[in-house]
Amino acid sequence: MTASPLASPADAAPNPGRRRRIAARTRLDFWFDAVLLLGYTLAYSYGFTGIGIHEWLGLGLGVALLLHLTLHWDWVIRTTRKLASPRGHDKLIWLVNLALLIGMTLCVLSGILISRVALPYLGINLTRIGPFWSALHFRTAEITLGLVPVHVALRWRWLVRIGRRLLGWRPARRPR
């Protein structure tokens, strides 16, 4: 749920010879996605963060998932309409994103249901939560750990292009 599922239309217009300004929306996409990846990595590393940070970070990621999907809803609609077309790359990304949406939603849902710190802190105490939800939380977390990097990497060209411009990287020139 981290990488932008589309190259933002704002940075699409080619203008060689002059350094283009990066659109605010593209900046938002890039930095929001970077924060999401960092947050997910921390949240997955339960043994490092401890349960309190893990649960609050997980809840935050749930909200961020909604926001991320909302920001890219146009892409979802456009790609879903084009699913019948023979082009394969977008289909693969669409499938990975769908699997990630289901996996991440179930992971956050099961995490909320088995919460031992965040929910009791908010005054919510769920009873009769069976071991099914703990198992689901572990399994979906493992699945998302596989899918998140794939989701990021499928847009690596966009990430490298925007990252280079935002962070001022210059490709090394070959000596002649």
Binding site: L37, T41, L42, Y44, S45, Y46, G47, F48, T49, G50, I51, G52, I53, L65, L66, L69, T70, W73, D74, L101, I102, T105, L106, L109, S110, I114, R116, V117, G130, P131, F132, W133, S134, A135, L136, F138, R139, L145, G146, V148, P149, V150, V152, A153, L154, W156
Partner: protein
């Protein structure tokens, strides 16, 4: 306005997944076969480890103290009570956990990038070969 419309659509999709998950959880708890039991194999739940015994095994064949047999072949093994571990946040000693996560992610990203680059190079080479084949022979 457009943002709110999109947010509502996203909330609807997420709500559908949540409803599906809750239904799955509801029916998994009531499944008579071993489906739910298979899922919970070896998982730690609130300070207790739940295991499923192999077919034919009897809970009594595990002589460890504190083991409580449950219906369906499950045994609950207490393993240290309800410690929430709130005192172990961001300890340097636990950094390997974070490093493991980063390594898994970096490995998966590298694999996808390598496959993508190789696929593009292959496609480009094939296209170039086809273009060369289509060119008329040069007259000497």
């Amino acid at each position: 306005m457009r943002f709110l419309r999109h947010l509502a659509a996203v909330a609807l999709v997420v709500a559908a997944v949540v409803a599906g998950g809750l239904a799955w959880g509801h029916f998994a708890d009531h499944l008579p076969s071993g489906v739910a039991q298979r899922v919970i194999k070896g998982v730690e739940v609130r300070g207790q480890k739940i295991e499923v015994l192999p077919a034919g095994a009897h809970p009594g064949s595990r002589p460890q103290p504190g083991i409580h047999p449950r219906p369906g072949g499950r045994v609950v093994i207490p393993n240290g009570g309800e410690s929430l571990g709130l005192d172990s946040m961001f300890q340097a000693v636990n950094l390997p956990v974070l490093r493991d996560t980063v390594e898994i992610e970096a490995g998966a990203i590298a694999a996808v990038v390598i496959i993508d680059v190789a696929r593009r190079k292959l496609r480009r080479a094939r296209r170039a070969r086809r273009a060369r084949g289509a060119m008329p022979p040069v007259a000497l």
